[in-house]
Amino acid sequence: MSSILQSATTAPGRFGPYGGRYVPETLMVPLFELERAYEEAKSDPKFQAQLQDLLKNFAGRPTPLQFASRLTEKLGGLRIYLKREDLLHTGAHKINNAIGQGLLAKKMGKPRIVAETGAGQHGVASATVAAHLGLDCVVYMGTEDMARQALNVSRMRMLGAQVVGVDSGSRTLKDAINEAMRDWVTNVRSTHYLLGSVLGAHPYPTMVRDFQSVIGREAREQILAAEKRLPTHLFACVGGGSNAIGLFHQFLRDAEVKMIGIEAGGRGGQLGEHAARLAAHQGFTGARPGVLQGTYTYVLQNEDGQIAATHSISAGLDYPAIGPEHAWLADQHRAEYSAVSDQAALDAARLLSRTEGIIPALESAHAIAGLIERIPKMSKADLVILNLSGRGDKDMDTYSRLL
């Protein structure tokens, strides 16, 4: 597996053919500055001490790796552990990256951050970190998402962030990113763009992965302590893919560990009905490599290169492109990707709530549904870590309609 790790570093910001830096010229020098600041921060003891302190005392790391005993029993006996990122401050893994980039913004002397958000978890994490560090914060959010994640809109406003509704395009995450980039390109001298996933131009996919890889570092130690062996399978949902890459990365060299990313299958395979970029094998159509929002990766698009509409019940997975490192891991068959439907995710959320006493975010519910669908192909000796990336408070409107 070392070839995978090496090829990720052959050209800066390239994962095989994927990744790169496709942005208007105005953003190039700021991206170089960000890359340099991030490289410096990696070996800056003061920065690292601040980061560790905030992760521990502000966010609540390390998170538990919980043995899910009743889910294990319910699904036939193969042992299932949950990485409880949902227990973090603000309720999802997004805070790991927001703390890292917030500190970088301070270090670069940028008094203002902008962020995009889909489900609202990254927006809440950004608003939280901005308040904690004394930065101004503007969050762009599609109006469709503002309606379905209203609780998180109120949380961001309570934290002092300005939430700007985006009414263009599909009024979801993709459009929020466009608008955040327009703000950034306009105010670039004073503003850091706190991108929330392993998307966008270099250095974002690498930097966000690094900030999230604390998930896998902890999980690897925890599973070895608990089970004296490595897991056979990792499961995580994949929108842009930051919680998945955060879990996967520390296991890339362990060839025996299978990694499964679960995408949003929405209502079906037809383009426009789903947000599955790497699940063509299941009949989800419309994904081809292309350039969107700074990076070259698999993108749901029509024949003319126009970006397609997507659908998912989960705002956090409702996005037409996937992080470029996932595209590369899929090409290399190092990770597998499949999609589950809206309905399967809802059923999984109910199951987890009633077997473990944990209401998962709709995004994380996709990972659970992916595990459930794979169970027939697995053996009782298998050992699973599933990244429970966020909690479901924000989704109670959707869930309560089903009760």
Partner: protein
């Protein structure tokens, strides 16, 4: 220094003529297919008749992240009318088959990268050359990611135009100019496209920095809408790019014919300003 090699493209000739007459060029941008490709043909004829020296045809894209609201809405209208890159190339052919002055105006395709990439670089370049496009500008493509693109387009004698920005260092401006042919397009301000009242104070120093690294003609765009802006650019730049101000005329007009007249009426005073006053100052070097 780049841009020293003699070039015989229609873009280079047009800029050489402008420089010889001490006249600032007017580059007109409109989004192709807004509200239809037939309308765009009428608009190009009107713009050329009114004195536009170069015309940029925007290829509509679903996610125009470098554009302000005016051109975003134009892209939406164009996509709604079914405009594709293939359709825009057909339009270029129609313009070429029209009569003077429209068929003599250099035409630049102004696109985001993905539509070009999906057609395929080779296929795009040969199609663009065969219908008579003169140059291509991809908004979200920089020198670093464009090695294949430049090789393939240059082989088809298409000018490759890249953007320089206020945030670009001198070293980058030199690199961008070295990758550009025809002219260098300088973005006047940090931000997205859209008409503004005043030009930024640091524009003259940006132009001086660019002049120091290239002999290519320099066009300035983003935020230019008024004859006063054009007058200020005389002696500093070789051309002014007018985009959103034209697109909003199309948006406001009640008919295609009314839009065509409004575009011509917008261009004429800009061209007047480009021919007179401060604009008559000798352009360095």
């Amino acid at each position: 220094m780049s841009g020293e090699t003699s070039s015989s493209t229609r873009i280079s000739k047009r800029f050489a003529d402008l420089r010889a007459s001490g006249e600032l060029g007017i580059v007109a941008y409109i989004t192709a297919g807004d509200p239809s490709l037939d309308a765009t043909l009428q608009f190009v004829l009107a713009l050329a008749e009114a004195g536009a020296d170069v015309i940029e045809l925007g290829v509509p894209f679903s996610d125009p992240l470098a554009d302000g609201p005016t051109i975003q809405r134009a892209s939406e209208r164009a996509l709604k009318s079914g405009t594709t890159l293939v359709g825009v190339l057909d339009l270029v052919r129609s313009i070429h088959q029209s009569s003077p002055p429209a068929n003599e105006v250099p035409l630049i395709l102004f696109s985001y990268y993905n539509p070009i990439l999906q057609m395929g670089l080779e296929k795009f370049a040969s199609a663009a050359a065969s219908v008579g496009a003169d140059g291509v500008l991809a908004t979200d493509l920089t020198p670093e990611e464009s090695v294949d693109y430049r090789r393939i387009l240059t082989a088809q004698h298409l000018d490759t135009i890249f953007l320089g920005a206020p945030t670009s260092t001198d070293e980058r401006l030199a690199k961008i100019a070295a990758c550009s042919s025809g002219f260098l397009y300088l973005i006047s301000r940090t931000g997205v496209t859209g008409a503004k009242d005043a030009l930024p104070d640091d524009l003259p120093s940006l132009l001086r920095r660019a002049r120091a690294v290239t002999h290519l003609p320099i066009a300035v765009g983003f935020g230019i809408s008024l004859p006063g802006h054009v007058s200020l650019l005389g002696g500093l730049a070789d051309a002014a790019v007018i985009g959103s101000a034209l697109v909003s005329e199309i948006e406001k007009a009640s008919s295609i014919a009314a839009a065509a007249s409004a575009l011509a009426a917008k261009i004429r005073p800009l061209k007047e300003a480009a021919r007179h006053g401060l604009s008559r100052r000798e352009v360095a070097p």
